[in-house]
């Protein structure tokens, strides 16, 4: 664990250490929300930059990872808002393509599509649980929720994902 005091004083080595410790977690949360590697990577960078700018306001008693994840969440949400006004090239459907693709989708792709039906908080929880199997207590600590709330969010997220998959890709059940 990196010392909050060192970070607050602007110790660059402490920051490097902190980034090394947290970047995978941040990337998974960011990818969980944005579902796009490039955007996720940009959001992570932006979140670190905002974190570093506001380092003097760090509270030594608080949990820094939680603070960092909160910043990241805000960055991701504003990216989503911006994205709502634009459509990516790969999101424009090609004619006659849709029917063929559904049968070719592998489980990873299928799951990635099912993630889109979840709310941001649920996506974050799913992402953290499947990134190196964090348990509900650790996820709860980062998000400021109780472990049982995390479990119930996770459970309802999984049920909705499964329903989505069964409804849109019936061959999954067979």
């Amino acid at each position: 664990m990196v010392d909050t005091k060192r970070l607050r004083l602007g110790d660059e080595d402490a920051f490097r250490e902190f980034v090394g410790e947290t970047k995978r977690l941040l990337m998974s949360v960011s990818y969980g929300i944005l579902l796009n590697t490039e955007d996720a990577s940009d959001a992570v960078q932006d979140a670190y930059l905002r974190f570093w700018r506001s380092r003097e306001r760090l509270d030594s008693a608080g949990y820094i990872k939680a603070y960092l994840v909160q910043i990241l969440k805000n960055v991701c949400l504003s990216m989503l808002k911006k994205r709502a006004n634009t459509v990516g090239m790969d999101e424009i459907p090609e004619q006659g393509r849709r029917e063929n693709t559904s049968s070719r989708l592998d489980d990873k792709e299928l799951v990635s599509r099912a993630m889109t039906v979840l709310k941001e908080k649920e996506r974050m929880i799913v992402a953290m649980i499947h990134y190196e199997n964090l348990d509900s207590a650790e996820v709860g600590e980062i998000l400021g929720l109780s472990p049982s709330t995390v479990r119930s969010h996770y459970q309802s997220a999984r049920i909705r994902m499964k329903n989505y998959i069964i409804r849109n890709f019936p061959e999954f059940v067979r």
Binding site: E12, F15, Q45, N133
Partner: protein, 165 residues
């Protein structure tokens, strides 16, 4: 427990997020229920898909030197934060404010009201009936008034005399 209840918590069971007691109940049920076993296989596929999605190599595609990138960016921002407005600009800004104030004063001086005396309800309007009892200004004589001042009849029996001291 019914199959429906079991199937709702199978994802938690598969991820190892259930309490020991509950997990044991689920395991006992699974040992003899084929449809729940099948449902568990589906949950496993979804879980594996998620593990692939979040555990894949692309996930570590964050640039190795991300810390350096961020530090460099924040250093580049620093001069912007400490940037001061140039004194010339400040002079221009204050000059513009001062000029506006002076112009306002000058215009209000130009269009100021010349001193005037209002006389209320003068009977039969003619100027000679006017009384200036405690007027601080010099009471003009009727002739003087007629000569130096403008006399305006506002209503039938109200007149407005403006004159210069």
């Amino acid at each position: 427990m019914k199959c429906k209840e079991i199937q709702d918590i199978l994802s938690l069971y598969h991820q190892g997020l259930l309490d020991t007691d509950l997990a044991e109940q689920v395991a006992r049920h699974l040992s003899h229920c084929e449809s729940c076993k099948e449902a568990l296989m589906q949950e496993k596929r979804i879980s594996d898909g998620l593990n692939d999605l979040f555990g894949r190599d692309e996930m570590s595609s964050v640039p190795e030197d991300i810390a350096e990138l961020v530090l460099e960016k924040s250093q580049r921002e620093l001069p912007v934060k400490l940037h001061r407005r140039s004194p010339v600009k400040l002079i221009f800004r204050f000059g513009a404010v001062a000029a506006t104030v002076l112009l306002t004063l000058w215009l209000s001086f130009l269009f100021r009201h010349s001193p005037a005396v209002e006389i209320d309800m003068v009977q039969d309007a003619p100027v000679r009936t006017v009384l200036f009892s405690d007027s601080p200004v010099r009471t003009p004589q009727i002739r003087e008034v007629q000569r130096k001042a403008t006399v305006t009849r506002l209503k039938e029996n109200v007149i407005w005399i403006s004159y210069k001291n």
